[in-house]
């Protein structure tokens, strides 16, 4: 009986709140909008910026997450781990405009004036840092989950065979965590793709320079080019679906192996 109640509530809510908004985008696609967007160099530039920045941000997030998972595995009682763990969830709870402002103050003109007139702010590098700030915790959580699934005896044996913690981590733990590493990277990448607030606060929204897909859509809505905004939005949906499908396919492959 309770199963049926869940079914009755789940399907309509899922269709109305998830499927319908995505369909609304696709339904509103127009040929004029598609043609205009495809011909707009700023659109392609924002695609390029998004992909480059998200890839680098996800790579950076994964590298830092590898460090966090190392502390989680070997030094869970250390003060470094406890502080890092506390800060890990901060980007999830923090409004991303606040994250953007924090980055602006930390790496802007005031502290990093030697980098240029605006410090690191309003550059593609700033976009990467903003994306990293919001995607790191996802990558870290994924790697920690991978570490927790490791058989502890594997690590114990490697230690008695002469490996210190650093060697065990790179020779045994990381090679056995392929799925977690891949998932951490893809989740970090997809979270980076979708970031808007922190990016616009710290990286700005300069067409051709720091504009990304999310801010391109925002600009087109703001200037009244709704057809172009819809086209860019559908492009984002397709990109996201592609990433989710790749992730799902890889998970199935790992499960099968």
């Amino acid at each position: 009986m309770s199963k049926e109640v869940v079914k009755i509530f789940f399907l309509p809510l899922f269709v109305i709140l998830i499927i319908f908004p995505v369909l609304a985008l696709v339904i509103n696609l127009s040929m004029e909008g598609i043609m205009a967007t495809m011909a707009d160099p700023f659109f392609w530039n924002s695609v390029k910026n998004t992909l480059i920045a998200a890839l680098l941000a996800a790579g950076l997030a994964l590298a830092v997450a590898v460090g966090f998972a190392y502390y989680h595995l070997f030094y869970r009682d250390s003060i470094v781990y406890k502080i890092a763990n506390l800060f890990n969830d901060l980007p999830i709870a923090l409004p991303h405009t606040v994250a953007g402002l924090a980055l602006l103050l930390a790496f802007g003109r005031k502290n990093c004036g030697f980098l240029g007139e605006t410090g690191a702010a309003f550059t593609l590098f700033a976009v990467i840092l903003a994306m990293f700030f919001v995607s790191y915790s996802l990558a870290a959580r994924t790697l920690v989950s991978g570490v927790n699934q490791m058989e502890p005896e594997v690590i114990d044996v490697a230690r008695t065979l002469g490996d210190h913690p650093g060697k065990v981590y790179f020779r045994i733990v990381l090679p056995l965590m392929g799925e977690a590493l891949f998932s951490g990277f893809v989740l970090g990448f997809s979270r980076s793709l979708s970031e808007f607030a922190a990016v616009i606060m710290f990286g700005g929204n300069m067409p051709g320079r720091t504009q990304v897909l999310a801010s391109y859509v925002f600009t087109k809505v703001e200037t009244g080019d709704l057809d172009m905004a819809v086209t860019a939005a559908v492009f984002c949906v397709a990109l996201s679906l592609l990433i989710v499908s790749v992730l799902s396919f890889r998970r199935r492959s790992y499960a099968a192996s």
Binding site: E153, D156, V157, A158, T160, L161, G162, I172, L176
Partner: protein
């Protein structure tokens, strides 16, 4: 020779080991106790995987209690074979040599003795339970440890396979003349492998003469409702 003296360990408020002491000379010693009696914790303290609250571990008269596992020169065969799945069987067995432990001559000798030649190039996940246990033992033996610690390595195997594999293990271990601490809850398994026996009772260790005596003591203790 290994001497563990006055080992005490608490988890939270619960005492797991209380002044536990054991001496192992050039022999295969079985430490028998029921599940949860603290025998694996004792073994892991000797290996350096778990730290003791009190006590000393002397290996050839050198106190190793403060050393990390990688500096203790002990071999460890855990409950599950715990083979490195991303490496071949050969790479698993040779793993200690990456850290300068063991020689290729020892490797050849142990592979020969444990009948592992035919599976060397295979992935561990393709091996049967028996071969996995053999590979796990070989990996621990190649670095020529000063003592071998075995934590119920055959617990997941059926009796028929155990009956076949334990005499093989005993033959290899006796030939290599390596002191062994074999932890088990099964007196029959201990009888097949060990030279002498000890039991773990209420966090303390006492020497017994035969596995039958160990079995009787365990049964009596359980009947009295003691933790063992």
């Amino acid at each position: 020779m290994l001497q563990a003296k006055g080992i005490t360990k608490k988890y939270g408020g619960q005492i797991v080991l209380q002044n536990a002491s054991l001496e192992i000379n050039n022999e295969i010693k079985a430490l028998i106790g029921i599940n949860g009696s603290g025998k694996s914790t004792f073994l892991k303290i000797i290996a350096g995987i778990v730290s003791a609250d009190q006590g000393d571990v002397l290996l050839n008269n050198c106190n190793i209690i403060k050393l990390p596992p990688e500096s203790r020169n002990v071999g460890y065969v855990p409950q599950h074979p715990a083979l490195f799945q991303h490496l071949t069987v050969k790479e698993n067995i040779l793993y200690g040599m990456r850290n300068g432990k063991g020689t290729i001559e020892t490797y050849n000798q142990i592979v020969e003795m444990l009948d592992l030649k035919e599976v060397l190039t295979k992935s561990p996940r393709t091996l049967s339970g028996g071969f996995q246990s053999r590979a796990s033992l070989a990996r621990a033996l190649v670095p020529q440890p000063k003592i071998l610690l075995m934590d119920e390595p055959l617990s997941s195997m059926d009796v028929v396979l155990k009956e076949r594999i334990l005499p093989d293990f005993r033959r290899v271990l006796k030939k290599l003349e390596i002191p062994v601490l074999y932890v088990t809850h099964d007196p029959w398994e201990a009888e097949l492998l060990a030279d002498n026996f000890a039991i773990m009772d209420n966090g303390q260790i006492s020497q017994v003469d035969t596995s039958t005596e160990a079995f009787e003591l365990i049964r009596t203790s359980m009947a009295r409702g003691r933790s063992f």
